[in-house]
Subunit: 201 residues, 2 copies
Amino acid sequence: MPPPKRRRRGSRYAVLGMLSMGLKTGYAMKKHVEGNLGHYWSESYGQIYPILRQLVDEGLATCTEERRKGKPMRNLYSITPSGRKELREWLAMPPEPQPQRSEILLKLSLGNRVSSETCQKLIRDYRQQCEQDLAYLDDIASALRGPGAQHRDQPYWLMTLHHGRAIREAELAWCGQTLAHLRRLATQKKQWKKEGGASDG
Amino acid sequence: MPPPKRRRRGSRYAVLGMLSMGLKTGYAMKKHVEGNLGHYWSESYGQIYPILRQLVDEGLATCTEERRKGKPMRNLYSITPSGRKELREWLAMPPEPQPQRSEILLKLSLGNRVSSETCQKLIRDYRQQCEQDLAYLDDIASALRGPGAQHRDQPYWLMTLHHGRAIREAELAWCGQTLAHLRRLATQKKQWKKEGGASDG
DNA sequence: GCAGGCTATATCTAACTGATATAGATCTCA
DNA sequence: TGAGATCTATATCAGTTAGATATAGCCTGC
């Protein structure tokens, strides 16, 4: 039988990547994802810890237990040369098309089933979320440019932040347009009702 | 013990939504997602068929077997009033924050580990993908405006298409900027090498 | 002295993706 | 006419991800 097809396994390479940045505990990785990669990546403990053990099994990482006076034990992981090699190989592969899922757009596409007010609230809340995201992105960017030594990955991180900015700004513009469309639709419907026309649905 | 927390269950409501549009078979739903919602939603048979049966169990849909002369049997599903009610309730709820995952950005953020050419290829391929997506979106839009009767959901579908357009155009602009950044970075590194400076990593 | 928050590891279930299996019908083109 | 490809249609599995929860010691403030 043919070899089983490769699945995506993005979490695996996200963890390898964080190991290659020098992060040493699962906990630190989770915090890093939440605090720095939140605009384009997410990861759960349920992925991180099993993957770390698996990477050790495969010789892509090593683990040493550290027990400090009066502090809880922790497992310190490091990437090995073969780990770096596998990471580089993955980086050179073209990304697979990702499954698209936008709950907002799904809801909007079914907007005819609820009131115009409900739809407008959906979009206004989303606009607010985008604004918060922009503030979050700016916080990361100024932290990056701020005090410490220039990290060697800094230029690449800035590019991902630019991406987040570009997308959120486009979304803000779209929210404005869409709210106008929704208001126009609502006015038209009221108009038709007043004229006693037959409903279209 | 407290009641278990609700998970997202987007597939469930996508299926309910398609039932409310009049789609009757699992196969037709899958085709609809691929052909019309591909820019913001995806769905697999592994979700659709079990969910349809589950909706029937819960009284949100009904099923009748249709057997036609010389054609294979098929199951025709319809939404019930309680199905419509549950759909409307979901539509009125604020969407939960969605897990962000962009393989391209993850790869780019680790770009320092591979050659500038590899990074640039990553972005060029992505740019091409965005261009194809734009063409696909335009195809859907002209099909929507084209021949048949104006579907009552048409204005909402156009809003989701506008969203797709806005995002892809922002991405195209970002690809251009990013390619320029990558080229500049490569030139700088060559420069440093020539000057015999110590490597930064 | 204890409530709340942080560091840290670990695990479970539900949800989801992508692939594969099956089978009759219809299309294609040689 | 017949072999092979594609389409309609249902079904299921294994691998992967999301999100919640359990545990436990330490630190901070009140």
